[in-house]
Symmetry: C2
């Protein structure tokens, strides 16, 4: 007991102490939040994570998650490739890799970018630990306190949290059916030109945008480049859903219209192979790619080498091309079921997007509705979604919601949407 008392008094001498009692044990921890960096103090927990934590109940029909459907994971192909990779000289697959990414995968990704309409050299590619790391590395490159980043509004929650974590201000520009409204963007940038916190980056998700499901038209993509050139800023193009197109023709990436290296393109294998393998990439002008690799070197040395090998063989052996139709069919059907369920169950005054691909659609309810409230009632009735407010940098959008159709079975989609429609009607009646 004396030791404990000595330790305790020593601890108390040296700062603020938290005492946690577990039965007869206790844990003392110094509070050293006063030593945290500005960045660490700025970072907040993701509200969506907290919502997802509520959903341990397997009876809940969830339209909340952003996870791909595990039925789309090509397990046996992954296993087959892994066996071959591991039986090769192990110095390759199990050893430290190259920070920029394995040479073979970078070549394969340069070919993939050419197929997408934005040809590049392997030197323009940096393999990342998922597209999230691509977004983060671009943020580290361009953002800091006093900088502004322009996003679509609504936009990807993790991007909002990430950008804020670097101390950047975020200005959201509304979307319409063709994507980010260029005139509003241009106006905003002209205003900013006369202010201190000059935007350095505009962040867009041109295909089947998360959360709205909207796809940017080719005209807008071209205009976006013009605006970025005029106002001297970098475009961060986040394109994780490119291959999940169920209908219509592929659109060339914004990067395809970029003659001068203004676009940093972030791609991902999470939706076409597996998110657990954490493989993405960025494509950028060579000096930018080199600088990003320099940051990555200090951040995690290199991306998982086994996963890089799996991703490379998955594409170069033609598995991706053969597997994509299955993924598209699965998600396309689910979207159709959700759209017809919405048509049948949601009241007049509710509108929604009709995405040509991806995993999400976006609902606007009558002005009076509050989807935070709705979410509480829905959870009681075992249905989950994400309130739209979370996707707006300015916290607006109280009457909106994101519905993900990638995960639940088709009959669950029908039941879940019917229940949601019922709750909405009830709330509208109560006024």
């Amino acid at each position: 007991m004396k030791i404990v008392r000595d330790r305790l008094s020593k601890a108390i001498d040296s700062g603020c102490v938290n005492l946690t009692i577990f039965g007869s044990e206790f844990q003392m921890t110094i509070d050293f939040t006063h030593l945290y960096s500005y960045r660490a103090r700025n970072l907040v927990a993701s509200e969506i994570r907290e919502i997802l934590k509520l959903m341990t109940d397997p009876e809940i029909i969830s339209f909340a998650g952003g996870m791909p459907n595990p039925d789309t994971f090509p397990t046996s192909i992954i296993l087959e490739i892994t066996e071959e990779l591991l039986l090769q000289p192990p110095s390759e697959t199990l050893q430290y890799g190259i920070t920029e990414g394995q040479t073979s995968l970078r070549s394969t990704l340069a070919d993939l970018m050419e197929k997408r309409g934005a040809p590049c050299e392997p030197e323009n590619i940096v393999v990342t630990s998922g597209a999230q790391q691509g977004i983060d590395l671009a943020s580290q490159l361009l953002l800091e306190s006093g900088r502004t980043v322009i996003t679509e509004s609504p936009t990807f929650i993790a991007a909002i949290i990430g950008f804020r974590g670097y101390g950047a201000d975020i200005h959201g520009i509304p979307l319409d059916r063709e994507g980010i409204v260029i005139d509003l963007l241009d106006d905003r940038l002209k205003k900013h030109a006369r202010s201190d916190s000059r935007p350095t980056m505009v962040y867009v998700i041109p295909n089947f945008q998360n959360p709205s499901g909207v796809t940017m038209s080719e005209g807008r993509r071209r205009s976006l480049i013009d605006v970025a050139n005029e106002h001297d800023l970098v475009i961060l193009e986040d394109d994780p859903y490119y291959d999940l197109r169920f209908e219509g023709d592929h659109q060339k990436p914004v990067k395809a219209f970029d003659d001068v290296g203004r676009v940093i393109y972030a791609g991902s294998f999470s939706k076409i192979l597996s998110p657990g393998l954490r493989i993405g990439w960025i494509t950028a002008a060579e000096p930018v790619a080199r600088k990003i690799a320099m940051i990555k070197q200090t951040v995690d040395v290199c991306t998982n080498v086994l996963s890089q090998g799996i991703a490379n063989e998955y594409i170069s052996r033609g598995h991706l091309e053969r597997h994509l139709p299955k993924i598209r069919e699965l998600y396309g059907h689910k979207r159709d079921v959700m759209l017809s369920s919405l048509e049948q169950n949601f009241p007049d005054g509710a509108t929604w997007t009709r995405p040509e691909g991806g995993m999400f659609l976006w609902v606007e309810l009558p002005e009076a509705m509050d989807t935070d409230n709705l979410q509480k009632h829905a959870l009681e009735r075992k249905v989950a979604f994400v309130p739209g407010r979370l996707f707006f940098p300015d916290g607006s959008g109280k009457n909106t919601m994101r519905l993900s159709f990638s995960h639940p079975a088709e009959d669950k989609i029908k039941v879940g949407i019917a229940r949601l429609g019922e709750i909405i009607r009830e709330e509208l009646k109560e006024g």
Copy 2:
């Protein structure tokens, strides 16, 4: 040609243009370094990387790399575990994981920490993409421009580059045979107490330190905690080599003497399983672990789930315990060969450490020697090492060098050290 001219003039209008000519093709890229963040501008390429690039010649005997020997990779065990993991419901292994790390691996790591003498709960663990990410996340938590970090001198190059990248000043404290010299550390901290750039963190590698091979004594470990308590700073304990002990008894981590949660411990699987799988972990007080997970969430969502599964089964099925003796024997022999080669070939006035584990030893040559010069001559004679200067935050140590014994075959070690000895003798003669 008109299009090209239009594009070019548009590009020139909008900023500084780099023109690169490839045959008849050319690539224009805007120089947007003026948009880079302070952090991005601060980061420099690793000189050690440049040295390693020189070594594509397979005839070179390299004591330069810090890579584990691929003969230590348990390939067939990894393959066996992977097969089982992939045949389980794929939602687990291929899906997004938990940011803090998979529950099973966190439990296993809590047990491992208990075996190392620093018991903790799974809630104290965050799985990272290698120990490098552990160092980086701790840096993000505590460092920024205007902050100071204290390190051992010499210390790990990637830590120096990483800390500088966050704008922190680095002050190195000399090592002796027992590790960091606590009196000098205490003096330095007392001086800093009266200055603006207050240290927030002290970074140490207590076991078989990279680059010196020195192990910190238990007395120093205890004193380090006292000093950190007195001066209110966080200890970042980097312990990637713990299990690579060839002789003597395991030392308890600094974390074992930490009653109040001042130590962030960074562990790694890179040297005992595989670096290509990129698995490490941090152990920290619960609120600190939570904050670090919050940062990790925005940085890369989660660590590779397949690799986490492999690491977990590798330990919990007892493979690690069975495999470690082989790794230790391999490295222990190589160290012995290097030590006796040094004894036979290096001139009087040269001294070196005798590490009880790890992958490196450290040589001090007579004052007059310059190992940058030596490195050039050695490369001509097909031997490589890393000049010691790179490991000193203040760029001193011109007469020192790091020799890695983990990789070359034993006969290559003999030949390489003999050649080095010869070159050193020649240079000493020339004066």
